[in-house]
């Protein structure tokens, strides 16, 4: 039997009514738990995995696929509606998504996220099915120096994509980088800047920081304004569905997001966030409406949401082909697979084709179920925005606090949430963008570790960093991205840049 036959057989099994019901239960549970901020996909899967043990292998796999994709999806809803990202991969979604929601375009934002996630999930799952063994070979070429070059590229493109003032963006970024130094240094095991506080030994939790900056800071800012200026804000303006122009502006970001997110998810040290950053920066560069970015540009939701779902499928590439769990979620999934005697690894596709293709078929069905579940729910979600503002923000604060406590029951963590919330308020007050500080916190440790690993391998030879063709190319692109706009601007050809972007398609 060929690969395609196995897939069809798996799909036939997964499409039985009972199996569809399991898939529906899986995605509903996954989405529901995933919606809570602070409870990311990893904890969702860990909490719900035991539920799947009672079923037979096929039913269990399909429910489990539903929980996995559902958990990945849940984060975007709260990002868009409440500005509280449930996990680090949906931080970028909050940037444009929440702006859209506040302009009464929450419906289209949720829809483009749902459909984008579906399309990305579909393409990425198919890529996983047919190209996994080849993709993983490419991903393994990435060593510390290549990762470092990728981080440099992410830094350059992302910091260029934030805000109007480069100085304020960079200040915020470096604040994030400084905070990223807190905690145990991975390479030597020594504690840095922990000031004797044990909770700080593991560094500052990204989701705590993101929820504080986005949700708490925002709530304080609104409360601080006192006057209800935009009380006339309509929850729903126009259709809650996507208009023709929304579709036209979304489909390319979906595809681009997929092809950015998938390979980065497949890299053992890639991480879903990097894909969303790069996708956001790309969309801002290529958009015909760059002025809308920061004020609710639909491309800024479509691209990153596609990227983070594609990377969720990408994570399965090293897991299934190498037995290599590259994220906490993947590690729990590995434990789940072992329940059925499925040993992920280089021989898996050969020794256990029925189960592997069953899993892939389940992922496809779960992906489809998510769309079925979420599109009708949009109307319900959007109603949330009609809640009077003081109540809504009180609810957001409660939600943010509960999520933080749920993820890590510690008073210090709660104190950090409030402290960073105040910082977020201050930064808003003085016009500093808040996304770069979170980006710095995520990228900083990755960049530092990869650089130090590379230099340790080369025994201190900096030339090693550019001796690999991939690293050299990535660093070259980063340098161009940094220098070209400077030169063009210096020659007074700033307009040409926007024209170039406009001519892109």
């Amino acid at each position: 039997m060929g690969a395609f036959d196995f897939l069809l057989q798996g799909l036939a099994t997964a499409a039985e009514p009972m199996m569809l019901l399991y898939a529906l239960i899986g995605v509903t549970l996954g989405t529901a738990v995933g919606v809570l901020p602070g409870i990311g996909p990893a904890l969702t899967v860990a909490l719900l995995l035991p539920v799947t043990y009672r079923l037979d292998a096929a039913g269990s796999l399909i429910m489990f696929a539903g929980i996995y994709y559902g958990g990945m999806y849940g984060g975007s809803t709260t990002s868009i509606l409440l500005n509280t990202p449930g996990e680090s991969a949906s931080i970028i979604t909050a940037l444009e998504g929440n702006k859209m929601a506040r302009k009464g375009r929450g419906g289209p934002a949720l829809a483009t996220a749902a459909i984008g996630s579906f399309i990305a999930g579909l393409i990425a799952t198919l890529l996983l099915a047919f190209l996994a063994p080849w993709i993983v070979k490419v991903a393994l070429v990435f060593g510390p120096r290549e990762y470092f070059a990728l981080m440099v590229l992410a830094f350059v493109t992302v910091s260029a994509a934030f805000g109007d003032s480069a100085l304020r963006g960079l200040t915020s970024l470096f604040l994030g980088l400084a905070l990223a130094c807190v905690g145990i240094d991975q390479l030597t095991g020594q504690a840095r800047l922990e000031f004797g506080v044990p909770v700080l030994l593991d560094g500052i939790e990204v989701t705590t920081m993101a929820v504080a900056m986005f949700a708490v800071g925002e709530a304080l800012f609104i409360a601080g304004q006192r006057i209800h200026i935009d009380d006339e804000l309509t929850a729903v303006k126009g259709s809650i569905w996507m208009s023709a122009s929304d579709w036209a502006r979304s489909w390319k970001p979906w595809l681009r997001g997929t092809f950015i997110g998938f390979p980065i998810g497949a890299m053992p040290a890639g991480g879903a966030e990097i894909g969303t950053f790069l996708s956001y920066a790309t969309e801002k560069k290529l958009s015909k409406h760059p002025e809308e970015f920061g004020h609710g540009a639909i491309e800024g939701v479509a691209g990153p949401e596609a990227a983070n779902n594609a990377s969720a499928a990408g994570t399965l590439v090293p897991l299934l082909t190498l037995g290599l769990p590259t994220s906490a979620t993947a590690a729990i999934m590995l434990a789940g697979f072992q329940q059925f005697g499925l040993q992920p690894g280089p021989l898996l596709f050969a020794t256990n084709p029925t189960l592997v293709w069953g899993l892939i078929a389940s992922l496809l069905i779960a992906n489809f179920m998510l769309l079925v579940l979420n599109l009708p729910l949009i109307g319900l979600w959007v109603k949330l925005l009609t809640v009077p503002k003081p109540w809504l923000y009180a609810g957001i604060l409660l939600f943010a606090t509960l999520g933080t406590i749920g993820a890590n029951p510690s008073t210090f963590e709660l104190g950090m949430l409030l402290g960073f919330g105040v910082l977020g308020y201050g930064m808003r007050l003085f016009g500093y963008p808040i996304a770069p500080i979170v980006v710095g916190l995520i990228l900083g440790p990755m960049a530092e570790q990869h650089l130090r690993r590379a230099l340790s391998i080369s025994q201190g030879d900096w030339g090693y960093l550019v001796q690999s063709p991939i690293a050299a190319v990535l660093l070259g692109i980063a340098a161009l991205a940094l220098i070209v706009p400077l030169i063009l601007r210096a020659r007074g050809k700033g307009e040409m840049l926007s024209q170039l972007a406009g001519d892109e398609d």
Binding site: A42, G143, G189, P325, P346, Q459
Partner: protein, 313 residues
Amino acid sequence: MKQFVLAGLFAGAVALPAMADYTIIAPANPGGGWDQTARTMQTVMQEDGISPSVQVQNVPGAGGTIGLAQFASQNSGNDQALIVGGFVMVGAILTNNSPVSLKDVTPIARLTGEYEAVVVPAASPIQDMKGLIEALKVDPGAVSWAGGSAGGTDHIAVGLIAKAAGVDPTKINYIAYSGGGEALAAILGNQVTAGVSSLGEFDAQVKAGTLRLLAVSAPERIAGVEAPTLKESGLDVELQNWRMVAAAPGLNDEQKAKVAADIEKMVKSENWQKQLADKGWSDTYLAGADFEAQLAKDEAATATVLKDIGLVK
């Protein structure tokens, strides 16, 4: 008064056979070995009726020392609280200067364990442990070792190997990754000279022929694994990455015996054995005075080697 005392005794007698509702702290993020150990204990204890309700709580951070500190300070005398831990914790307590150590809890038993394996990529010119040691002797810095977190079991294994080979342990070039998985990618991608992690991390790759297994850290050859021990290779190193369960501090002997009995019942159950087999963990159950002696030995050896590597002053 007498009646009151009698009633109290009676209530106590009725309460005694009642089963404990355990709360197990997994001092790590979901997905890791400690989390999986805790969740497997939860499943077995509930299914076999050892405890009607078991909760698992993740308190991640700093090699388990954050969870350990919280556990020790909040549960004194509570015989329904358990914490999962292991060899990595022993090292982390030392490197982090943790104010709370394993002396502040009541270790109950060692549950499972895995031996360490030394591997090189299949394309590597190094054929055996002897070749690797020769390269190490020529230039310790030129041999890069990938493994898990700094000061963890993998790092300690490399330190012990260097020391046994007569190479200065402070000179080793150890590249720490956040876990065995990420380290595995670096080894497969030919980014480093060699890799050290639990045998289970490498097993599938060794069978597929993409990694060459040079040696294992077991006292004698492991059935089904075609590699010599480190001792056979002339290096006096034996190391097991074990996981254990501990109870709260301040328990009286009776409470301690009760917890120990529950754990023993769990370990002896068919269900537990099946779970271990599914997960590829070996049963290295050790309890009572034997475990305490082994623990003291491991603590002393770890302290020495961490000082040798230079991680602990």
